[in-house]
Amino acid sequence: MCADQTVHPEPSRRHAIEIFLGGGVLATLASFLYPVLRFFVPPTVVDLGGDEVVAAKLVDLKPNSGKIFRFGSRPGLLIMNSDGTYRAFSATCTHLGCTVQYRSDLREIWCACHNGTYDLNGRNISGPPPRPLDVFDVHLRGDDIVVSRKRGA
């Protein structure tokens, strides 16, 4: 083995230098690339919206109508049924994230982007949506209509 080293000293030394040089260049590139890649990832924003929001005043809605309200950073849909009861849902379509609307002529929730419809329980009944809309709790507090996330959801 010693003889072998004396016969071919050059290639192994060159190989070691290649590894050091190559490794050094790769490490340098990685040390440039890593911060750049991390830079691309946006910082997470904490949603301070909470679990409860005043969606509307009692006077805002007429029977058989709907209203988009702001729930944290996302839109919600509040509906007053013809019998005066209220329902609230996430307004983000489960298909590709458009904002849905209440259709008083059909008494359905409709997404204009890809023609998906949901019934008044938020169930997807036609078109491409794969899942029902998230349903929120609604209760009245004085003149305010308060919407909150379902307990345990």
């Binding site: 988009i68 950073s73 307004a91 904002t99 023609n115």
Partner: protein
């Protein structure tokens, strides 16, 4: 005077050597030669985009509270602002159209065959990047249609299993489409994409110059067997002058369209309104939009939109690699590729029309 300047430069820089390759370059003459113009027209429209884009940059301000107002300012207050913006929008649409025509003419004339595989691949990458230009530029006026188009478009990217969600967050600059998305898209539109496209255009043109113009396989076989049948014209000046005439027509069409049908600005985006009825993407995304619309929510156990998105991605990947499925003998080109190409062009046109007329 020009001759004197040219002589002065030529003595120092040997300009003649530089344009010598152009003098030797020839363009084949046959009854389908006019399809050769579309690459050049696309390039011309790209140059218009760069120039008008730079002008718009002088007044445009990215940001959710300023973008819409700054475009409104360009359209109403800046002298000829309406014209510059309308030309930018119309030229963008025409450029995508001519790029598609150029791509399909390459397919049907079978110009992608060996040895031009890399010309095809760079061309397809350019087509994808140009669509990226369209998608990112569409958001910049920050109007309602653009807001929802971006929401749906980035959500579509998010459907890809495993890598989709990080890609979506990367594109949006967060979980939702917000002002952060606008800043990013602005960066893509005016810096990242122009850089990539410029490099690819240089490579694409170098390859075209290096490999010469392709002729359809039947003609290629005929010309190889009977060299006397070969008909060509010089690129410089004969073809170039014809190309310049095509550019002149293009700029005429562009000016007329921009003046007669100035581009709309729409209504300022509001994240807390419903998507308006009749909302549709730009025409060049319509065929994909309509495909997603007709796929049922569940196909077997897979979500419909995941299937649609993966299907579109695979089709795009296959199209990118099309030359590698083709025979390298001009006499033995594959009939199934021709059949598939006819299907592809009919599908794109058919679905676009369906998407246009459907509610």
């Amino acid at each position: 005077m020009f001759a004197a300047i040219f002589r002065w430069l030529d003595q120092r820089l040997q300009l003649d050597d530089l344009i010598a390759p152009l003098r030797h370059k020839t363009v084949p003459r046959h009854r389908l030669s006019y399809w050769y113009f579309f690459g050049g027209i696309t390039l011309f429209l790209f140059i218009i985009q760069v120039l008008t884009g730079i002008l718009l940059l002088l007044y445009y301000r990215p940001g959710a509270s300023e973008a819409f107002e700054s475009v409104q300012y360009i359209m109403t207050r800046v002298q000829f602002g309406w014209l510059i913006r309308s030309i930018h929008s119309w030229s963008a649409n025409l450029m995508i159209f001519t790029a598609f025509v150029h791509m399909f003419s390459t397919v049907f004339l079978k110009a992608y065959r060996k040895p031009r595989e890399l010309t095809w691949v760079t061309g397809m990458l350019l087509l994808f990047l140009v669509m990226g230009f369209g998608f990112s530029g569409y958001l910049l006026p920050w109007n309602t249609l653009a807001f929802f188009a971006t929401k749906v478009g980035t959500e579509i990217a998010g459907q890809v299993p495993l890598i989709g969600k990080p890609i979506m967050i990367f594109l949006r600059g967060g979980e939702e489409v917000t002002g952060a998305t606008l800043t990013r898209f602005f960066g893509f539109h005016v810096a990242v994409l122009p850089g990539l496209v410029t490099v690819l255009i240089v490579v694409h043109l170098f390859l075209v110059q290096r490999l010469g113009m392709s002729v359809p396989p039947k003609l290629e076989a005929d010309w190889a067997a009977n060299p006397s049948h070969r008909r060509e014209m010089k690129f410089f000046p004969n073809f170039l002058l014809r190309e310049l005439m095509a550019w002149y027509v293009a700029i005429g069409a562009l000016g007329a369209l921009a003046a007669i049908f100035p581009w709309n600005l729409g209504v300022k985006a509001d994240p807390f309104v419903s998507a308006p009825a009749g909302i549709k993407p730009e025409w060049y995304f319509l065929f994909m939009f309509q495909t997603l619309k007709v796929i049922p929510p569940k196909v077997w156990i897979v979500d419909g939109e995941v299937l649609g998105v993966l299907g579109c991605a695979l089709a795009g990947l296959f199209w990118l690699l099309l030359p590698f499925f083709e025979s390298d003998q001009p006499g033995r080109t594959k009939a199934w590729i021709t059949g598939l190409s006819i299907f592809a062009v009919s599908y794109v046109i058919g679905m676009s029309i369906y998407g246009f007329v459907a509610n």
